[in-house]
Amino acid sequence: MLTFIFRRLLIATGLIFVISLISFFMITLAPGSPYPWGELNPKISPQVKEAFRKKFHLDRSLPEQYWLNMRDLFSGRLKSIKDERPVLERIGERLPATLMLNVYAICVSLVFGLVWGVWAAQRAGTWPDVVSSVASFALIALPGFWIAYLILIGLVKHASVPVLGTQSYGILFPNMLSMGLDRIWHIVLPGTILALGGIAVQSRFIRATVLEAMREDYIRTARAKGLPEESVFYKHALRNAIRPLITGIGSLLPALIGGSLIIETIFAYPGMGRLGYEAVLERDYPTLVAINFIAAALILLGNLLADILYAVVDPRVRLE
């Protein structure tokens, strides 16, 4: 087990560097420049330009730039071109909000996906199952920003609930508990909309796995020895639903981190997606490098966690 984790960490480190290389060269080779002024602006003296280039290593060759960027990232000295604050500090402000939103969305997807998938699998082939499968594809086909707007129209017009940001402003909270509850309330709506597609995908996945398990020999054996149908289903077939649940943790994360940008924009939620989007538009190379690095690390960590969980719950899986 330990050797497995160690080997996976080694591979992950390698992958992360490949990823950072790809992202760095993709960003820097693309047209456009990070200068806060127009490149041909005559009012900026060559000395100022030179000093700016030197400060952000833009005078070096690309491989050197990559090396300096990575070195500064690890020593925490990497500064944003936009406001010259340390990149890690800028990300640190946003990361907790994004993590809370995504963890909430993943939990919602897994829990509701499980319940829905099992419900549908029990009714496979009947009309409620057909309706539920159409409904699940409807959730996948919903453009997230569209449904968010429709809900916003409804909420703002018919019930004045606070939906923007991470907390209610202008209110002094008497204690930590009510402040925490207020924060959670601000996650519920964007997080649930973010999770809609995940719920549907997860439920399809779990329904398929449970149905496949129902065709296995051990289910026939369980039935043959006279076990009641509930016991066959809940004790023997349902255990198979754990596998898609774990895969879900690993596979939902990348989609969520990307997809949360749109939801963060609509709900004025200060997360990483928004930060990354602004960094792209401003050609803020250091911030982008750091964001890509951290996002990839999170995703790899999620995958590793899923693999370890696999081995923990399923003794058939051997980790060598």
């Binding site: 990823i19 453009p143 569209w146 707007y149 916003l152 990348p254 981190i257 990307g258 997809g259 990354g276």
Partner: protein, 298 residues
Amino acid sequence: MNTPTQDQPAVADSPVRRVLRDFFRKPIALISVFVIAVFCLTALITGLCALGGIYFPYDPNATDLANKLRPPSMAHWLGTDNLGRDVLTRMLNGSYVSLTVGFVAMTVSLLIGVVVGAVSGYFGGWIDNVLMRIVDALLCFPSFFLILTAVALLGPNIWIIIVVIGLLSWTGTSRLVRAEFLTLRETEYVRAARALGQRTPKIIFRHILPNAFAPIFVTAVVGIPEAILIEAGLSFINLGVQPPQATWGNIITDGKSYLLDAWWLIVFPGMAIFLAALAFYLAGDALREAADTRSERK
């Protein structure tokens, strides 16, 4: 299950026919194919007319400030936007852009995915290792963010958007094709073809690929709505196909400033995206079920 029954002679029961017969037996499949056909026909007709400079019912870019933000009426069935442009006309003109993005981006990603998956699965060894590690690396990027970065850096032009979506969404297809090839390359007919001394490309494309057709076709059908939804998402952050060319996504984006006053700017184009995507997803699912030989058919 594959053996022909009494009333169906073996000749008529080719795999493709069997899949199609099972497919068109489902009401949901019929409805979704109908919806897709309506969308495609509309897009084709308005697209051809737009090429010839003919627009109906109005000119999509004709502004009419006296009639701006009018709710749906007899003159403007789906209302007008903030510049008095007819929403129905703009949606019709957006339909061929959105569907083109869907079809072409899917084709690009399918081509790459099939070639990478086929090479990886057929040859195995270090080629497989290298290709699959690249896929792993690509999967570690938040995909929408990667597409957004590429489009923002290269400039939001319709062809760039299509190519970027296609170039960055083939990973799933390649894994699927690889898995198919891993099992199919060990079959007797492939070994026979190899023993007969046929060249590798011919074995891959003539013998193995047709047998992996069903799952590939299903991913193709599902890839279309995905590309449409991604383009809509890009439009939302102003990185989609640029105005004045209307797309379903950018009509919503233009309309979001009038969220509380002009619901028709949000509801109708969103409905079009939703219905088109849903029809493709349902058709893809029905096709998957029809092609799935393992599932029990009662």
